[in-house]
Every structure is written in structure tokens, then in C-alpha cells.
């Protein structure tokens, strides 16, 4: 039934998000180190996608173009602004 399908959608998202939360927490609490850092970033990005897909119902198909354009463009702007800031301020810091 359509209603069950919609409910399962949320549940799948919740389970995936929980798993993607437990992994980094456990790794940081026990192992630490550089690999954990990359796993952390990966899990964060994946969980972001899980939220956008399963909770916020964003998809590549089945919706208006401007809706996806909006989120992708924001992502680009955030990358430029946050990444650019880290680059610039890091560069200044290195020269101090």
C-alpha cells in the first residue's frame, strides 16, 4: 500500500542514519587517528544524503528542476565560501 511505502521510506532513512551515526561515534571513542577522520567525513556526507533523500524527499527524478538546482547551487556556494575561507585564513596563518 502506498501509505506503508511512505512510512517504510522514513524508517529506512532512520535506520541508515542511526548506523551512520554509531560508526563515527564508536570509532572516535575507541580508535581515533587519521583513518577515523576520513571515515568521519564520509559518514557525515552519506548521512547528509540519507537525510536529504529519505526525510526531505529530494531525488534526481520526479520533481521540478529548480528544486534540485536550489540545493546543488547552495552546496556549491557553501563549498566556495567555507572552503575558500579555510584556504585564505589557513594561508594567512601559515605566514604568521
Amino acid at each position: 500500500m502506498e501509505k506503508n511505502k511512505e512510512f517504510r521510506h522514513y524508517l529506512i532513512g532512520f535506520v541508515l542514519a542511526t548506523v551512520l551515526t554509531i560508526i563515527p561515534f564508536t570509532l572516535v571513542a575507541t580508535v581515533g587517528g587519521k583513518i577515523t577522520f576520513f571515515v568521519l567525513i564520509l559518514c557525515a556526507i552519506l548521512q547528509l544524503i540519507v537525510h536529504l533523500r529519505f526525510f526531505l524527499h529530494l531525488a534526481f527524478k520526479g520533481q521540478q528542476r529548480e528544486d534540485l538546482q536550489l540545493v546543488l547551487f547552495t552546496g556549491l556556494i557553501l563549498l566556495i565560501m567555507v572552503g575558500g575561507s579555510i584556504w585564505v585564513l589557513g594561508d594567512i596563518y601559515n605566514r604568521m
Binding site: 529548480e66 575561507s85 605566514r95
Partner: protein
């Protein structure tokens, strides 16, 4: 107890008291300026009472009609422009006699350049542009209003609240002395614990929130409310630039809000974002500020470019050349504008690699602008050109803005910028792009669309004189500053020691007088036009043989804009309809029109925001908290109140619309030869020599 109520506000905070206690040139000037406010206020109250205009006033203040809101933005901007021009004239006068010290104290001069910049950007240019966008865009896309009319009103209210804080600082307290860029740690708590920087932060943050909401409103309006058949590549250029401006507003205002909030936390709660010790880093402010500041200048100039597109096509009677390339160029400018914030602080210690990367990006961004200028020139080529006031502005723009843009490319080179940064060369550059770019676009836009809203043209002769005065005044005032900058004169300096600068400063001072005259001519133009409004009336609504949908309504435009929303098949739909002879054909079916009712929402938010800001500045915590809670309560209460609308019956719409169409069919109209004289009633007849 007084401290609990009045915070740090005392009698000495009021400039009129200061002028009595310490009479000198500075207090006299400031007190005279400040006195204009209560005196002007009394005069306005008297006028309103005598003419019985209170009810109409509140109809306007509670209106959610985009045309009225746009007009109020423009009136606000004109008033603030008066202050901004006076501030500029004072500074130029001081510099003209500024060898080894002028007549202003350094504290006064520092406040002047701070208020001048803050005022002109946030309370003159942006409100002017929001006003034009408000008036024109819904008409150009064939809509009845914006997507969120009440939010539109709230945006106006927040801008007004910021303006209120800015103006009240003239009378009570003082303004910041840190420039419109307000860098800490100079504006931090340690160096400047007074009210100045607090006024600055709150004025621009509060109006900044209003601007962000305007960006949201207009982007949704343009995305969702275009009339049938108007896909993106059929929109007029002014709407395209309004869309890109809205996108810039959405993404560029948050950095300003963020850095103002952080500076506020530093100042009010002793945080260490930008302090010199304890891990603070002022470069974070500078980085964030210019991440706002660079897109901001494109927010200012893009709508002006949109107006230039409209001028080029309308006043040469030709379709815009290279529509696709101009659209692409506008979008490139919008996106690239987010990548070039660093050149505003080349000298702040980055490595050559970082500087070079951003320098190259900045030079790249000049390319799409060049594409647009060539497209506009090509539009003019072979056209039926009329040298009306907007065309004077366009031609002035071609020459003068190009020079300003070129000086920008010079500054984009880090090596050259190390010599020129913060010199008068920089001052010359940004005035060179703002005045022939933004201001010319604004003034031209007002001339073009004024008849649409008020039903009569502005007097052509006066408008032309105004245009020439602005061009001449600009050249005299700011061109010498290129030279003085190259000679080593710094900006933001109350005095200088090199006698060789004096002749340039005097020329610049004379130019400032011309600019003052130019401003007066704006007021004079409007005044004379109002007196002659019957002769200048253009009731048919199309005084310039316009090409886009906004000209397809009577003038003044009725509140519902279009009796029946038009369907379009291409770019310049109105021109096409006129050519086919279907422009004023009768319509069979009229329907009732539902319009949103007036509301006090925006007015209340404006009052709350003003109270919040004033309370924080003066440490009147009860006022700040009460205003904040009041704003939240207002929002909650309005969520429960029914959103009222009112219906305009189809019969009424039919009567007005049919009369207009019938009269248009039965009248002859004029060719472009008669565009600037009395015969122009707003109906166009094709010239034989027009190129479609």
C-alpha cells in the same frame, strides 16, 4: 533607577545639548543636521493634518501592493540620498581647504565617511533598487503581485527600522568611525566601547535581514509566478537581472548577518571572535565582510545593467541584440561574484599564490560585463534613437562606467593594488562604477517607469539637465581623485600635507557643488512635473513604445495590474501584439479578482525592530527584550488571524479595462517624433523607419 530605564543614555548624548555645552563648528553642523529631523517631523505632521492626509497615509503604510511598497522604498531612498549628498559635500569641502587641516575635526570627518558609505549603500542604493524591482518585476512577468506580499511589507519595515537607527544616531549619540566596512578590532569593545559601532552593527544587520527576505520573495516570484507562456528565455532583461540580484541577496547577505552578529557578541558579551588577544582573529571579520561585500556590489549594479538593457532596446526601437548572450553574461557575473571577495584585502598578508588566483578570477569577471556593453552598443546600432534622459544616462554609462571598470581591472592586479589600496584611486574607482553604473541606472529607471505608476511623464527638459548635471558633477568630483591617488593621497583622511594636491581638491570640491545641484534638480524635476501633470499625462500607458508587458496596462496602473493575465509567445510580446494589431482588442471574459487586504504586520515589525535596536545600543535591556518578545508575539498572533482578502468584482474590472481598450483603438497615437511633447498620451503608432 535611571540607569535601569535609560541604560547609558544621558542628556549629554543628545547633540542639541552637546551643541550648547561645547559650541564649535562640528557640533554646530551636526546639530543643524539633526535639528532637521524634529523640525521636518513637525512640518510633516502639520501638512498631514491640514490636508487631511492621515487616512491615505495609513492606507499606504499598511498596503501590500508591490507598486506602493516600491514607491515607499524610493521615497525613503531619496530622503537618505539627500543626507548622503550633504555628507559627501561636507567631506569634499573640508578636503578643498584640507591642506594641514580643514574645518572638521577628525572625529567628525571619520563619522562622515562612515555614515556616507553606510548610508549610500544600505539606505540609498539598495532601497532605490528594491523600489524599482518591486514596481517593475511583477508587471514585467504578467503577475498581480509578488509571491509573498506581506513579507514584502515586512522587508520594507526592516529597512526602515535600520534607517531609523541610522538617522537617530545623528541626534542621539554618534555613529561609528570605522568606515562602512567597520573592521575590528577598531570597532571592537576595547577601542570603541561607545554607541557608534553598535548603531552601525544593528542598522545594517536589521536592514540586512529585510534584504535577505526581499531576495527570497523575488526569486520565488520570478520562478513561480510568470504568466502563461513566459518561459525563462522570454523574460525581459530587467527581470533577469532582478532574479540574479535576488539569488545574490539570498546567499550574500548571510555572511554580513553572521559577522555583525559575531561583532555584536564580542561587544556585548565579551566574546573573542575578533579581539587581538585570546585567540581572536580580525581577518575572520574581513573575510566574512567581503564575502558579503563583493556580491553586494553586484547586487547594486546588476539591476542597473537591467535598466540599461531596457533603455538600449526601448529608446532605439530595436530588439535587444544578443539576448541569450546577455542572459548568460548576467548569470556568469552572478556566480563569479562569489569567487572574488579577496581582492578587497590583497594587502592583508596572504601569499602571492592566493592573491594571484583571486586576481585572475577578478579579471575574468570583467569579461561578461564587456559582452553586455558590446551587446548594448549593437542594439543601438541602426536603431531609431531618441536622446531622451535615459539615453543620456546610457551614453554616459558607456563612457564613464567603462573607465571605472578598467580602473577596477587595474586594482585587480595584486602588485598594483599594493600601491593603490586605500588611496584616493580606490575612492575614484568605486564612485566611478557606482555613479555612472548604479545611480545612472536608478535615475534612468525612475524616468522610464514613473509614468507607469503615476500616469504622467517627468518633464523631459528638466530630466535631461539633471542627467547632464550628474555626469558633469561626477567627472569634476571624482576624476581628479585618480590623480591624487596616484600621487599618494590616502582615503579617509581629514587632512593632508602635500600642497600639490590642493588644485585637484579644489576642482573636486567644485564638482561636489555640481552634484548637490544635480540632487536638487531631481527634486525640482519631480516638482515641476507634478505641477504640469495634466500636460504630461499618458493615460494609455505606453509613452515610450515599450516592448514588454508592463507597458500593456493603462497608466496609472490599476491595483490588480492586468485585468486578464496575458499569455505570451515570445520575447517582447507587447511589440509583437502592436505589430499584429491585437494589442488593444476587446476581451470577452472578465473574472472577479481577489487581492490581499491591507495589514499592520510590517508596520508593527518595523516598530519592534527599531525598539530592539535602540534598546541594545543604549543598553536599555527592558526595551530590547520587550521589542523582541513583541515581534515574536506579533508573528504568533498573525498566524491565528485570518488572512483577509477583498474581491474586485468583474464588472468593475471590465468597465475600466474596456474603456481603456476602446479609447486606445479609437485614438491615433504618436510616432517617436512626438515622444517628448504634449501630444504623447501614451499610445504608440509605428514609425516607418523602425527596425523591429
Amino acid at each position: 533607577m535611571f540607569e535601569a530605564i535609560f541604560g547609558r543614555l544621558t542628556w549629554d548624548s543628545i547633540i542639541l545639548v552637546q551643541a550648547v555645552e561645547q559650541p564649535n563648528v562640528n557640533t554646530f553642523i551636526t546639530a543643524s543636521a539633526a535639528a532637521m529631523m524634529p523640525i521636518g517631523g513637525v512640518m510633516i505632521v502639520a501638512l498631514l493634518t491640514w490636508m487631511k492626509w492621515w487616512k491615505p497615509l495609513f492606507e499606504w503604510l499598511t498596503s501590500v501592493d508591490h507598486k506602493k511598497i516600491g514607491t515607499m522604498y524610493i521615497i525613503f531612498a531619496v530622503i537618505m540620498l539627500f543626507r548622503g549628498v550633504v555628507e559627501g559635500m561636507l567631506m569634499r569641502a573640508n578636503q578643498a581647504v584640507g591642506l594641514n587641516g580643514g574645518f572638521l575635526s577628525s572625529d567628525h570627518f571619520n563619522q562622515l565617511f562612515t555614515t556616507h558609505g553606510t548610508n549610500m549603500i544600505f539606505f540609498v542604493a539598495m532601497p532605490f533598487l528594491f523600489g524599482l524591482i518591486n514596481i517593475v518585476v511583477p508587471l514585467q512577468i504578467g503577475a498581480r503581485d509578488v509571491a509573498f506580499p506581506r513579507l514584502n511589507q515586512i522587508s520594507l519595515g526592516l529597512t526602515a527600522a535600520g534607517g531609523f537607527l541610522f538617522m537617530i544616531s545623528l541626534m542621539i549619540g554618534e555613529f561609528s568611525t570605522g568606515g562602512w566596512t567597520g573592521y575590528p578590532s577598531f570597532t571592537g569593545r576595547l577601542v570603541n566601547p561607545g554607541v557608534g559601532p553598535d548603531y552601525y552593527i544593528l542598522a545594517i544587520a536589521i536592514s540586512g535581514i529585510g534584504s535577505t527576505l526581499t531576495g527570497v520573495n523575488f526569486s520565488v516570484t520570478i520562478y513561480k509566478m510568470r504568466t502563461a507562456g513566459m518561459n525563462f528565455m522570454r523574460m525581459p532583461l530587467f527581470t533577469w537581472t532582478a532574479l540574479c540580484t535576488s539569488i545574490l541577496l539570498i546567499f550574500a547577505m548571510p555572511p554580513l548577518t553572521a559577522c555583525c552578529a559575531m561583532l555584536g557578541l564580542d561587544r556585548f558579551l565579551g566574546f573573542h571572535f575578533f579581539t587581538n588577544d585570546m585567540g581572536g582573529n580580525l581577518m575572520n571579520f574581513i573575510n566574512l565582510f567581503w564575502m558579503f561585500g563583493h556580491p553586494e556590489v553586484y547586487i547594486l549594479v546588476l539591476p542597473a545593467f537591467g535598466v540599461m538593457s531596457e533603455i538600449a532596446s526601448t529608446y532605439s526601437g530595436k530588439r535587444l541584440y544578443g539576448y541569450t548572450s546577455i542572459v548568460a553574461a548576467t548569470m556568469c557575473i552572478a556566480v563569479l561574484s562569489f569567487t572574488v571577495w579577496l581582492p578587497h584585502f590583497f594587502t592583508m598578508g596572504q601569499s602571492a599564490t592566493v592573491n594571484a588566483a583571486f586576481g585572475v578570477a577578478t579579471m575574468l569577471i570583467a569579461i561578461p560585463t564587456g559582452v553586455k556593453i558590446y551587446d548594448w552598443l549593437a542594439t543601438l546600432w541602426g536603431g531609431r534613437i531618441r536622446f531622451t534622459a535615459p539615453m543620456i544616462y546610457l551614453c554616459g554609462f558607456f563612457v564613464l562606467f567603462t573607465i571605472g571598470g578598467l580602473s577596477g581591472v587595474i586594482l585587480a592586479s595584486p602588485t598594483l593594488d599594493y600601491q593603490l589600496h586605500n588611496s584616493q584611486f580606490l575612492v575614484a574607482h568605486f564612485h566611478n562604477v557606482i555613479i555612472p553604473g548604479v545611480l545612472f541606472g536608478i535615475l534612468a529607471g525612475i524616468h522610464i517607469w514613473f509614468p507607469k505608476i503615476y500616469g504622467f511623464r517627468l518633464m523631459e527638459s528638466y530630466s535631461r539637465i539633471t542627467a547632464f548635471l550628474w555626469a558633469i558633477g561626477f567627472i569634476l568630483t571624482f576624476m581628479p581623485l585618480y590623480q591624487t591617488g596616484l600621487m599618494g593621497m590616502t582615503r579617509r583622511t581629514v587632512a593632508y600635507e602635500d600642497p600639490a594636491l590642493v588644485p585637484w581638491m579644489i576642482v573636486s570640491g567644485i564638482g561636489a557643488l555640481v552634484l548637490g545641484l544635480a540632487f536638487l534638480f531631481i527634486l525640482l524635476t519631480i516638482f515641476v512635473s507634478v505641477l504640469n501633470r495634466k500636460k504630461l499625462a499618458v493615460p494609455f500607458g505606453d509613452p515610450w513604445d515599450g516592448r514588454t508587458l508592463e507597458w500593456w496596462t493603462p497608466a496609472p496602473t490599476p491595483e490588480w495590474n492586468f485585468a486578464v493575465l496575458p499569455k505570451v509567445n515570445g520575447v517582447d510580446a507587447f511589440t509583437e501584439a502592436k505589430a499584429k494589431g491585437t494589442a488593444y482588442q476587446p476581451i470577452e471574459k472578465y473574472e472577479d479578482i481577489e487581492m490581499p487586504a491591507n495589514t499592520y504586520y510590517g508596520l508593527i515589525i518595523a516598530a519592534m525592530a527599531s525598539g530592539f535596536g535602540f534598546g541594545l545600543v543604549w543598553h536599555m535591556w527592558w526595551l530590547a527584550i520587550a521589542s523582541l518578545l513583541g515581534a515574536i508575539a506579533t508573528a504568533i498572533i498573525y498566524a491565528f488571524l485570518p488572512q483577509k482578502t477583498y474581491i474586485i468584482p468583474a464588472a468593475e474590472v471590465r468597465e475600466i479595462d474596456e474603456a481603456w481598450r476602446r479609447a486606445a483603438r479609437e485614438s491615433r497615437g504618436i510616432t517617436r517624433d512626438d515622444e517628448s511633447n504634449e501630444a504623447n498620451k501614451g499610445l504608440a503608432r509605428p514609425d516607418n523607419i523602425t527596425n523591429p
